[in-house]
Structures are given as C-alpha cells and as structure tokens.
Point group: C2
C-alpha cells in the first residue's frame, strides 16, 4: 500500500512558486519545503491499489461513518468520537463509548489521517481500512461482539444493498466487513483540510503573518520539525514520549504493548499537528488542554529546550495557521436507510 510520490507535490509546489513570483526569494519557504509538504488537491489524494477511491465508495463511507447502528447500542458512530465539526476528534481526554465507558487514549483526529505510517497512537493498524475494524468490536467503544454482528446489521438494512452494490459493483455479495471498512477509509481519505500554511508552502509568502513566520522558523530551528514533518506535520514515525527528560506521568507503555520490544516502551506515533489548535486536549493521555503548554512540554521533554513564553506563543500561532476546512460534501449528514425487520435491536 505504499504510494504518494512526494516528488510530484514538490514539483507542483515549484510550479506554484513560479506563478506567485516571490517564493524563490523567501528563504523561509525554501527551508520549510525541506520538512513539510502541502496537502494534495482533493482529486489527487492517493489511494491504495486494492482500494481505489471512487465517488460511490466515498458516499457509502459517509453513510457508514455517521451511522450509529454500527454499534451494539445503536447510539455510537465513528462520528461520535471523531466528530467532523470538532476537527475529527471529540474534545475530551478519553472518549465515551458503550454504556458510558471511557477509553484509555485520546481520540486521534480522522482529518488528514491517511498521511501517516500507521494508525492509532501505538500504530497497531497499518492503514485506515484496518483502523476502522478496531472500534467496532472494542468493548468500551462500539462494543459489537464480532464483525459478523456488524455485517448482520448492515445486511439486514434493505437500503444499504444499493449503495454497497454501487461501491463494489464486481462483488456478488458486496455487504461485507472488508467492503465496509474500505468505504469508510475511502471517505476518510477525502477528509483533508487545506490551510494558510499550505498556501505558504505553495509559494504564497504572504499567507503567514510575521508572528506565524517566526513561529514556523522556531518550529524548525528548535527541532520540532525533525519529528513533526511531512504532509501532516507528524504521523511519519514513532518516538519515545520523553526523549531527553522522562515524562513524569508515564503510565501507558505505548507501542510496547503491540511489539513487546523493550525499546518501544513509552513510544507513540508522532501525532499529526494539522488543526491542532482545534483539537485539545493533547497527548495520548489527553492530559494537557493548553496548546502553548503542550508546546513547552514537548520542547523540554523531547528536545531539552526551554522555550520563552513568546516563543511558545509564536509556535502555537504558527500551528494555528494549519487549521483548515474539510470538503463541504464530507460534512453533509446522510439520511440513513431504515432498519429492516431482521435488524438486530439496540442492546445496552
């Protein structure tokens, strides 16, 4: 499933600069291009060979992402913990799931989520398709007993037949769990949020103001961008939480739980920072609510750097310039097809 030839975006960036004229003389743009990549246009978002994005899959995925009947209680959808209006997260330390139970890690945003090496804080799912399987059967999330339960529900809803058939026209029985997560992933690949920072990377040097430029320069000079890089400003690697100084509150062993490799203790996926100003609280444990405080902590624990208050503020202002709007079509709540006589009842 490797894809996404960054060189193509680099080339587009260069073409953009030529058009606008001034970027060639702006060393900050040139420096930033070494670390970051702008989001592609929606039509150019890469998709895996075995799940090419189509409009029909995206439409089906939007239905499934929002339909609470994918949970045991019929009260929790993907959108419950990944609310698109809350930038694909939920604004809580830990999400609320089945019977009001809470999880143990902060909800990862579903916006711009495909530009990552793996999914979940511990990287236990290799891609969006695999990720979507997890919460459906997590006892404290959507709490289905099995994926077969989910399929039974979907197959029992007469109005789901046509959209599955359209999305997977070659399949004799298209209503399967694999096709469901393919459609959800295809929908999620459309959840990109172009921002002023993208305009800047493409050569519009006035897209960032003076303080944001200073924040960007600090973000690179202090070393933040050595991990928070790429299209997502993060998501490209795993790192220990507490490289220079240990995180005093560390309870969660992170990726170690997945790999059982001692060197993975306290290791987490470096999170995507796009829209980070909108997605408090921060860190895998949702322990910090203030973005400037999170920036300060990261500098200390990961880089051994003490930032001044004005430096924290400038970096936070720069990060806020990555706030963007998802495509309008993605935000339309679909009207769900009615349950059928065989549809399992909600269970608490």
């Amino acid at each position: 499933m490797k894809r996404s030839p960054f060189s193509l975006f680099g080339l587009l960036g260069v073409l953009g600069m030529v058009g606008l004229g001034s970027a060639q003389e702006d060393p900050l743009v040139q420096k930033a291009e070494a670390f970051f990549r702008p989001l592609p246009e929606l039509k150019d978002v890469p998709s895996p060979k075995d799940n090419p994005t189509t409009k029909e899959k995206v439409d089906l995925g939007r239905l499934l992402y929002n339909d609470p009947r994918l949970s045991k209680s019929h009260a929790i959808s993907c959108a419950s913990c990944h609310n698109l209006g809350l930038y694909g997260a939920d604004g809580r330390g830990f999400s609320v799931g089945h019977r009001g139970m809470t999880g143990v890690r902060n909800s990862n945003a579903t916006l711009n989520a495909d530009f990552q090496v793996a999914q979940f804080w511990d990287g236990r799912a290799k891609d969006l398709e695999e990720q979507a399987l997890g919460p459906m059967v997590n006892p404290v999330e959507m709490a289905n007993d099995s994926h077969e339960d989910v399929v039974r529900t979907l197959q029992s809803i007469p109005g789901y037949r046509a959209p599955f058939q359209k999305a997977f026209p070659k399949d004799a029985q298209p209503v399967t769990i694999q096709n469901a997560v393919r459609a959800i992933a295809a929908f999620e690949r459309t959840l990109i949020t172009p921002s002023r920072f993208d305009a800047f990377l493409k050569g519009d040097t006035k897209a960032l103001n003076k303080e944001e430029r200073q924040g960007l320069a600090l973000f690179m000079d202090k070393g933040c961008s050595s991990c928070h890089s790429g299209v997502g400003l993060g998501g490209t690697m795993f790192q220990k939480f507490g490289v220079v100084k240990p995180n005093p509150d560390a309870k969660d062993l992170g990726r170690y739980v997945v790999t059982k490799d001692g060197s993975d203790r306290y290791v987490f996926k470096v999170p995507v920072l796009r829209n980070v100003a909108e997605t408090a609280p921060y860190f895998h444990d949702g322990s910090v609510w203030d973005l400037e405080k999170a920036v300060k902590m990261m500098a200390e624990l990961q880089l051994g750097v003490q930032l001044s208050e004005s430096e924290q503020k400038q970096i936070a202002l720069f990060l806020k310039s990555t706030t963007g709007h998802p495509p309008k079509d993605a935000l339309v709540i679909p009207m769900f097809p009615a349950s059928g006589k065989e549809t399992p009842r909600p269970r608490d």
Copy 2:
C-alpha cells in the same frame, strides 16, 4: 405564540389544483383536505412574534444543535438523540444520555416538530424554545447542573460571540440561555420534510399509487385521522393511550404527571406521523418496532377496530408516503469554534 394561518395554505392548495387540473375530480384529495394540510414552503414556515426566524439565528441554531459541549460530558448534543440522519430521532426505545444512562420515553423526532400544540410526549413544554431548555439540565440526558452552566460554557468559547451577536444584534450581551434556545428553535423550524403526500394534497393526484391511496382512504374511514390530522398528521391534541381497550402494559401516567388532573392518566400527545416509517420504535415507550403492528394496535386500542393484514399494510404504505428529506442546508455539520482557556472541562 399563535400563528400559521391555515387558510393561506388552503388557498395555495386550491391554486395548485387548478394548475394540475385533475384534483377537482379526485374525491380522495378533497376528502384528505378536510383532515390534513401540506407543509408550507421553507420560506413560509411561521415563526413566533418574539422569535422571528432569521438566517443568522438558523445558522447559530445549527451550531448549537450539533455541539456536544452543551452537555456536561461534552459528548452529547441535541443531535445525539435527535439525529437528523435518523429523521430527527435515534432509533432506540429510550435514548442514551449522561454516563450511559437511559431515559424513560422514546425520543420525539425534531423534524416537523413545530406543528404541534406542545412539545414532549406529555406536552410539558409549550413550544420549541421551552423544549430545548429541558434536556440540557436533565440528569440522564445532557446533565448540566444548571442553565447557567451552559451559558458559562458558551460565553467561554470565543468563537461563539460573533454568531450570537449576528443572530441577536440588539442585545448588549447576546450569549444567554434564552437566545440559545431561540436559535435552536429557529433552526428546528427549518426541519421540514416535504413528501409525496404533500404533492398529493396540493393536487398532484398521481403522487400516491393505488395501495397508498387505499391506505389513505382507510386512515380516514377507520378514524385514525380524527386524531392524526393537521400538517403533522398528529401533534394537534392529547389523547388517552387506550381509549376503547386499555393498554395492557401501561405504566407511564403520561400527562397526569404534568397536570395532576385525574383525567390525564395515560394521556399523551398524539404524535406526528410524518416520516413514521423511518422512526421505529413506536409509542411513548418505544415498545413496538413494526409499523404495521403499531397501526394494528392503535386501531384496536383507540378505535375498537380490527384491521385485516392487508389494511394494516396499506395504511403503513400510505404513512410511508409522508417520508421526506430535510433541507440540505440543515444537514451540514458546522465546524465548531474552539474552546477557550476558561471553557469548563468535560465532566463524567
């Protein structure tokens, strides 16, 4: 807050018939006009004198309706139990609220909800504005300790100031609970769902097929329409659940709890039947999942009528012709303004 001159819609209906030509000779249309009224055009939906609908209020109301930060846990919005994709209800017997607690009555649909004498199954709120106050402070729903808590949250979110100011430009401090519920009510007044049945009422006699026409005729001839009448096919009066035969499972005293009047035992608001085929389960206790069974029960308990299976089916098919689509603008998930430093944290 009385309004909605039905005579105007009647006149429009007559004009519509003249245009289409055949309704004057269709006695079923003429008979139906004695019981039902088509939905108004969106621009003509009436609003109360002290809360005239404006685009700015509707936009703010859409934000508030969908924002889970109006709840104590920040996990429950109006839309949680009144999911627009599920036709303004939630497809459960009783809704899930704070800490996974459940309520005691089935969620009333918010679609076409303004065409009613009162709100809630027991009519304890006189209008949509008053209704919206209830769930915010219901301990098993959004669970705020007080409406002041909700206002504190809203005032703490910097990005709410501008939309409140736009919606209530004459108010020095527009972020109040009264304005919040005015905006939610204004948004809800846009949630109308024109259907094939409306086209029929306006004179398009071919909008219903033969079985649906038979169902409509039965619905009137058997007496259903003596209560389920008006714009909403219901919502215009209160009635005892179990007029002819008592409801054997009756536990809920209904409107008696509000009025303490002995004659209000087991009395409930006659529910709106628009979109009823999409909003199972049925009745105040959400006890029946099958529409035909609900029709059969109502005929027996309320009218002393035994319907044949084909009659139940035809009535259900007629009711399904009232399924309609809310306005597209109403279905767009808004991007919520970020919480501020003073915003109260979610509490479980």
